[in-house]
């Protein structure tokens, strides 16, 4: 039964049944299934843990930016508003330096062609989206925990709002940056282009996240932050749906 659910084709372009053939080692999988997406997801993790390049670089990035903030604060006591802003600056820029890796590495290694031959684009998109989401969630959890530990002035009064914001904010960041990473992987200047393209798109998300974080430092009740959560969820849903529709054009280009 569970196997049936895993292999159930998800409606995508083109909708055809999977061919049942014995001994298929390299065969194009036409339908998008959760299995293929899951395999892409696992592949990302395996190739990441082979070198641990992105992970190490990102952790160092987090340490560096946090210590810069600590140095610049010094003995001053900034307001909660400024501190909740800087938290999201750190998360945004570490997302910007980390999330573009998934597609850029594929182009650099020259493996994107093989992937294009083997699986359909929707599976690639879902797999990479999940990987990006897990990566950015892990990162922002580390950032949030170390932020709470090292910056004493930053006091969160309602933790449930804070953690839900971190979770939904990571989902939103991953949803918008996956498609943008796919776009910049095809461009000539990859490094600088990503934040330039991402900033105007991610701004509604960031402003809402900063607002929600402010609410959590003010000790608001969970019901007061519902409006912010609705915006974050709708942003993520809109981004994932649109990217799912247009990803094929970018990937097959």
């Amino acid at each position: 039964m569970t196997k049936m659910i895993w292999n159930m084709p998800i409606p995508s372009i083109p909708l055809r049944m999977e061919k049942r053939e014995e001994n298929r080692t390299l065969q194009f999988i036409e339908t998008m299934t959760l299995t293929t997406s899951y395999h892409i997801f696992v592949k990302e993790f395996v190739s990441e843990f082979r070198t641990r390049y992105a992970l190490n670089a990102l952790l160092m990035f987090v340490v560096t930016t946090l210590s810069i903030i600590l140095f610049s604060i010094g003995k001053e006591s900034p307001t909660q508003d400024i501190l909740s802003g800087t938290l999201w600056i750190v998360i945004f820029f570490s997302a910007m330096s980390g999330l573009s890796r998934t597609f850029v590495a594929e182009e650099e290694r020259g493996t994107s062609m093989t992937l294009r031959l083997l699986v359909n684009s929707s599976s690639v998109y879902i797999g990479k989206l999940l990987y990006n989401f897990i990566l950015i969630l892990f990162l922002s959890l580390i950032i949030a925990v170390s932020y709470l530990l090292f910056i004493n002035e930053f006091e969160v009064k309602s933790y449930e709002i804070f953690w839900i914001t971190i979770f939904l904010g990571s989902a939103g960041l991953a949803s918008a940056s996956t498609i943008l990473a796919a776009i910049i992987a095809k461009a000539n200047t990859k490094g600088t282009l990503f934040p330039v393209l991402a900033f105007p798109i991610l701004l509604p998300l960031l402003l809402t996240c900063i607002n929600a974080t402010k609410l959590s430092t003010e000790g608001a009740f969970l019901t007061e932050a519902v409006k912010e959560f609705q915006i974050l969820i709708s942003f993520t849903v809109v981004m994932v749906a649109t990217s799912f529709l247009v990803f094929d054009f970018v990937w097959k280009d």
């Binding site: 943008l180 282009l193 330039v196 105007p200 798109i201 280009d253």
Partner: protein
């Protein structure tokens, strides 16, 4: 565009400029050409006849660029990409104009050129989106790839626009009418409280600037088609 339409637009816009700048503002309007005096806005209210239609035309240009981008993705015809770029470059010009007219109005009504009001933030984001769009285009050499990727980017940027128009003014406090904390009305659609003759000039200006945008757009498309043609001839020799 037809010759008579061009002449009509020129006359129309000239009339609007004359009406917007020269019609007197009095406390009690007597004749059809006298605008009523709005307390708090005074003579500065004239800007509504220019600033709002330009902002509207900016959004029209952006939506057109997005629609042609989507058409390109469907048909893979380079002409659609050309239209998309033409509309985007005009949109950039209009966006700068809308920002400037808005900033001048803000200086004299709210005290400073820039206040980070939600609407000002959204026009700033639109500027950034246009900037990013042209940066992306300049970063790709291959013509078809450039067309595909910039179309996808304009679609992705386009779906965030409702967040700026409908969501941001609700969560941020602002100075424009229709912001959070404004009793007169929340949301993007304002209740028009202008006098009838001013409203007529306002809507005439809205129509005028939209048609002017289409005129400039057709000129730009023709120019770019010729440029592409010349380029192709040069390459073949």
């Amino acid at each position: 565009m037809k010759m008579w339409l061009k002449i009509a637009v020129s006359v129309w816009i000239t009339g609007i400029i004359i009406a917007g700048i020269a019609f007197p503002m009095v406390r009690v309007p007597q004749t059809w050409y006298e605008f009523p005096f709005i307390p708090g806005l005074e003579e500065k209210a004239r800007n509504i006849i220019f600033h709002v239609p330009i902002s509207w035309a900016t959004v029209v240009a952006f939506v057109m660029s997005m629609i042609y981008g989507a058409m390109y993705l469907r048909k893979k015809d380079m002409d659609y990409d050309l239209r998309s770029v033409s509309s985007a470059s005009l949109g950039l010009l209009l966006c700068v104009l809308a920002t400037l007219t808005g900033a001048v109005w803000a200086k004299f009504n709210w005290g400073s050129f820039w206040n980070w009001d939600p609407r000002q933030t959204s026009i700033f984001i639109l500027l950034l989106i246009y900037g990013a769009y042209f940066v992306l285009r300049s970063a790709i050499d291959e013509e078809e790839r450039r067309a595909t990727l910039s179309s996808v980017y304009s679609i992705i940027a386009g779906v965030t626009v409702p967040f700026f128009i409908f969501v941001m003014p609700r969560i941020m406090s602002g100075l424009h009418p229709g912001s959070l904390g404004d009793e007169q009305g929340k949301g993007p659609v304002l209740e028009f409280k202008m006098a009838t003759n001013m409203l007529m000039v306002f809507f005439a200006s809205l129509i005028g600037f939209t048609v002017l945008y289409f005129w400039m757009y057709t000129l730009k498309v023709r120019l770019m088609r010729i440029e592409r043609h010349v380029q192709q001839i040069n390459e073949s020799h």
